[in-house]
Amino acid sequence: MAAEETYPEGLKYHPEHDWARIDGDEATFGITWHAQDALGEVVFYEPPEVGATIAKDSTYTEVESVKAVSEVYAPLSGEVLEVNQKVVDGPELINEDPYGDGWLARVKLLDPAEADELLDVNAYRELLAD
């Protein structure tokens, strides 16, 4: 059951169609509705290793649909605290609830100030409109 198109307020967006929900010096990452829609039914998510360091603007994992592979970009730099095992077991959660149960990784931020470089919801919507 695919979700309706939404882009929640309060999230920070990366131009490669990733989002971050920032909570103090931690953040949760995922891909946007637009990204999952472009990909189609997601069939596989290979999570990064807990403890790994990931760098802003670089890819930290891949998600796969039946006939496409999409690299997932880290919106911010951080150390992986937790990965979403529920998505590993049921990758369709990315389609069903991209901002909720379909989150991909939780990280401890290395440089919270990087968040200033990300887009807010209006800027991201403008990017999609282009």
Binding site: V43, F44, E46, E64, S65, V66, K67, A68, V69
Partner: protein, 469 residues
């Protein structure tokens, strides 16, 4: 109008008119004038069907084939009987002519065959996942090495000298592209030396690659060799003879992580070496790194059972430079012959065939080693192929046997200089006791004749004494 086209002059002019050009030449206008081939390709004129048949038949008549002589050649491809039903089914246009099953709704036959094939290979190897075939045996060895290099992030490949020489050569060719080092471990009385293997394996070793039975026909202790690999964190890879798996302990029960092999013995023609197929099976954890097509079961919108190509994101048409392998075409028709053959032999037939081969081989060993001037190379257990040393130049012996209508075996000298007088003899269910007796008689005559002609050679080498020393 040439053979296999239908366009008449009238068609051509109507079609050119519809396109809006005056001549065929205009359709090729994009080719720069200096790159156009002026004049015809310099090839003989086309032949009528009957002339072409006669020409090809005349060429075929100059080959000495396995119906025209008693064939004891093996070395990776074997003269097993191919049942008539294999030809009848594989020559059906519905299997012969389609492309890869890109449109699953109209390719259920081919996709289900792939699924059945994968099941058969999984059963034979006792490994949970198998692909739908690769090109053939030796290049499948290189494919396993590529998987191991990627999975372990290591750079060294340790191979047994019992691995088919073609596999080792192919691996070395590929390894220059992979940037991997290939280290060879010698044989100890015909089998891979576990101690030498342990000495060669280290924490840079991605895979240990062995063959069972090995090239000399000797049955390896796969469990012991796999344990050596495991102790160093290297992947244990085995090339196996599928016919042997009716009776030999399967690789999946020996700690082997990837089993692969040449599929020709399973219902495929000899065809002077191809096409046949390679098979490839692995433990579950390597599934997403497997090369080649894989079919999976699913349902359609109405809930009917059906089959599709699964896990395609591994493959080149999607992942391009990051694909697990570059293979596109596999060997679907040859794999179909394989799965039909295995159904024909069935659960008991494959075991009975193994038992028959073991007994006929044991008989052949006895008969041949009773000949003055023939010695076993090794006293190790064998199933369907064995190596002997003959007390005369091998090529001369082979030529003499050929005169008796017998292809006596495969000379080892070029690929194993240490066995310069070695001859590899293969037995199939098509080689009866009478054939084996004829081989023994012919070999004995050939050796006697060689003895007469080459007394000097025998005196100088004194091989009997050499063997016992």
């Amino acid at each position: 109008m040439s053979r296999y086209t239908s366009a008449t002059d009238a068609d051509r002019s109507a079609m050119l008119g519809a396109i809006g050009v005056d001549s065929i030449d205009e359709l090729f206008a994009a080719i720069p004038p200096d790159l156009r081939l002026e004049g015809p390709i310099d090839l003989p004129d086309g032949l009528s069907e009957t002339e072409c048949f006669d020409h090809l038949a005349a060429l075929a008549a100059r080959n000495s084939h396995a119906d025209a002589e008693a064939c004891f050649l093996g070395a990776g491809m074997y003269d097993h009987y191919v049942p008539a039903l294999v030809d009848a089914i594989t020559q059906r246009s519905e299997f012969l002519t389609p492309y890869t099953p890109y449109q699953a709704e109209v390719s259920q036959g081919g996709l289900q065959v792939m699924f059945e094939f994968q099941t058969a290979i999984s059963e034979l190897t006792a490994l949970p996942v198998a692909n739908a075939s690769l090109y053939e045996g030796p290049s499948s060895v290189a494919s396993a090495a590529y998987l191991a290099l990627g999975a372990t992030k290591r750079s060294k490949l340790v191979v047994s000298r019992g691995l088919h020489p073609h596999s080792r050569e192919t691996l070395r060719t590929y390894a220059r592209g992979f940037g991997a080092e290939v280290v060879e471990v010698g044989l100890d009385d015909g089998a891979t030396g576990a101690a030498e293997l342990a000495g060669a394996v280290d924490d840079e070793t991605a895979a240990v690659i062995v063959q069972n039975p090995n090239f000399l026909g000797v049955i390896e202790d796969l469990a012991e060799l796999a344990a050596v690999a495991e102790s160093a964190g290297a992947m244990a890879v085995a090339a196996v003879d599928p016919i042997s798996l009716g009776v030999l302990r399967p690789p999946g029960e020996c700690g082997i992580e990837i089993a692969l092999g040449e599929g020709q013995p399973l219902g495929n023609r000899l065809d002077f070496g191809g096409p046949s197929f390679g098979f490839f099976a692995a433990t579950e954890q390597h599934l997403r790194r497997m090369p080649g097509r894989i079919a999976g079961e699913t349902t359609d919108v109405d809930g009917r059972r059906g089959f599709v190509m699964a896990l395609q994101t591994r493959e080149q048409h999607i992942r391009r430079e990051k694909a697990t392998h570059n293979i596109c075409t596999s060997q679907a028709l040859n794999a179909l012959a394989g799965v039909i053959y295995l159904s024909w032999l069935g659960k008991r037939g494959l075991v009975e065939l193994g038992e028959l081969l073991a007994n006929r081989t044991a008989y052949a060993v006895e008969r041949l080693t009773a000949i003055e001037g023939v010695e076993l190379l090794h006293e190790a257990p064998v199933l369907r192929e064995f190596a002997v040393r003959v007390d005369a130049p091998v090529q001369g012996v082979l030529d003499r046997c050929a005169g008796d209508g017998i292809a006596a075996g495969y000379p080892l000298g070029r690929e194993y200089p240490e066995y310069e007088d070695g001859l590899l003899v293969a037995i199939t269910e098509r080689r009866s006791k009478d054939d084996i007796d004829r081989l023994a008689d012919s070999l004995a005559r050939a050796l006697r004749a060689a003895d007469g002609e080459l007394a000097a050679h025998s005196a100088r080498k004194s091989p009997k004494a050499e063997v016992s020393a």
